[in-house]
């Protein structure tokens, strides 16, 4: 009897404290996440602006999207950048992680060097790359000229601007490398030893042990990379190109920012943001759905 009583006392005690301690977090979710998200959906059906009282206009904002060529351009630009930077970033960071995982001298210094660009404030990164991409005195054009290649216009050219931003994004892949490195260190050694006994070449071992064992890490980096890259580009556009030339770097978040805070079209900006939400949600579901065909989870197999 006593024990049951004690138990239920402990239960109550835990419940009381549990809710109490979680309360700021729960309130935060309502105040800064759920509330604003519902409000954004609601506002996307109005012509909300900073001046004047908002009116309900139904799907008008969404209908307008079909005629808005900047919207279409920015969808294209954002996907172009996201796919390019995620693929390039995954391949490069996998490559660097493979190399950094070997037992070589100065390994921790090398790792630090690859990581440091990732903790550099985005504003400062943008400033540095402005000078690297400068058509006259930029480092890259100096290098190109010195090996006899024509100087490029980089971010000042409609066709080159997104490739230039993709290159720039491969400078800040430290987090991705770190996740890959941790994944590599988690692969049991005996798998390689067994393969060596069977006379497998390094390619076989990479193809049949390393890559399959790394699929959970690849999956995580792919998902995070896509979600991040689709929301990326704001700082680059704001500081380096203003979305130009000729809207060629009109990143989606920058376009939302312009509509909401420069043009005062908050209802329209909300409609844009709801579309982005839907895109990200669908892609997340899609990536999760396909994961069972290519991600190897040891525990699930058995």
């Amino acid at each position: 009897m006593f024990e049951v009583k004690g138990c239920s006392y402990l239960r109550k005690f835990e419940r009381k404290w549990g809710i109490l301690l979680a309360l700021p977090g729960i309130l935060g979710y309502f105040l800064w996440v759920l509330g604003p998200t519902i409000a954004a959906i609601f506002m996307s059906f109005t012509n909300w602006s900073l001046a004047g009282s908002p009116q309900w206009i139904g799907f008008e904002n969404y209908a307008k999207l079909f005629d808005d060529f900047i919207f279409k351009k920015s969808i294209f630009v954002t996907f172009y950048y996201a796919i390019g930077s995620v693929v390039a970033g995954l391949v490069l960071s996998f490559f660097w992680a493979l190399l950094l995982n070997s037992k070589i001298p100065a390994r921790s210094i090398l790792r630090t060097i690859f990581f440091i660009p990732s903790i550099t404030p985005a504003v400062a990164v943008a400033m540095v790359w402005l000078t690297l991409y400068h058509p006259q005195f930029g480092l890259l054009n100096h290098l190109f000229k010195s090996i006899g290649l024509p100087a490029l216009k980089w971010i000042y050219d409609e066709k080159q601007v997104i490739p230039a931003f993709i290159v720039m994004s491969t400078w800040t892949i430290g987090y991705t490398i770190t996740i890959f490195l941790a994944g590599l260190q988690g692969i049991p050694k005996y798998l390689y030893e067994a393969a060596m006994l069977d006379g497998a070449t390094w390619w076989h071992r990479l193809r049949h042990i390393t890559i399959p064992m790394m699929t959970p890490a690849i999956f995580f980096n792919l998902l995070m990379g896509i979600i991040g890259a689709l929301q990326g580009g704001f700082t680059q556009a704001y500081i380096m190109t203003s979305g130009g030339p000729n809207y060629a770097s009109m990143f989606y978040t920058y376009y939302i920012f312009l509509n909401g805070f420069q043009y005062g079209k908050m209802g329209y900006a909300c409609a844009l943001s709801v579309i982005m939400f839907l895109i990200i949600m669908c892609l997340t579901v899609l990536i999760f759905r396909t994961s069972r065909y290519w991600v190897y989870y040891e525990a699930l197999r058995r």
Partner: protein, 282 residues
Amino acid sequence: MVSTVGGKSSHLAGKVVVFVILVTGALIYLMPFLWLIRSSFMTTGQIFRMPLELIPKPFKWKNYPQALTAMPFFRYLLNTLIVLFFVEVGTLLTAPMAAFAFCRLRWRGRDLVFFIILTSLMIPYAVTLIPTFILWKTLGGINTYLPLTVPAWFGGGAYNIFLLRQFFAGIPVEFDEAAYLDGATPWHVLWKIIVPLSKPALITVAVFTFLGVWGDLMGPIIYLNDAKKYTLAVGLTIFRGAYSTKWNLLMAASAVIMVPPIILYLVGQRYFQHGIVISGMK
């Protein structure tokens, strides 16, 4: 990877190749920094001069004091530190509370609530941006630091709660139970037992939070109108607009802004790397 992927005979040769590739890669990754530092010690004329000058001659140390006085650097620094202080305190107080409640106390609906909070990681920040702005406008928070600091006092963000929860979950429950038998409250267990054992995770959260505040551009742009209230990140942007031809000063100012995150990273590196892995892999 050569040690595991490469054959035994090619062991040493393989290692040399890997090392050479890595050093080359590291130099490429360092290049933007070196270029920045070089340019920050030159006159604008030297920067543009052809053929290329790699080492500034003479070193123009004065670019630094000049850049720092051309923009109200110390004002911006102070503003940034004020925002940083309140965000750090709010985060490091409320995120451990939530993380503790979500893994070391049992209450009905706990896992569901935690899952719902995690879904906020999927919501793009652009979605909540405009309604949150309107909320602050209604509350009169525009041109104050409230919109930049207050949200941190509500759990410090789903990501931090998640990261701390992962870490807390690895600490034996017996610690808590023994303390409860001695009449301790969860509040005490959290701050006296769990938090002291979770330094790596807390340092990771603190560093992430620092990086977020230090580099935040969108928040200050939207909420602050008064130039005296700007943070360093916005200050640098404004500086660029005003001194667009003085590349050397711009480079000096950019270099200065990079230093604190790098130092912080080097100091907390050990914990920090571990923290990224916890947040990513489980």
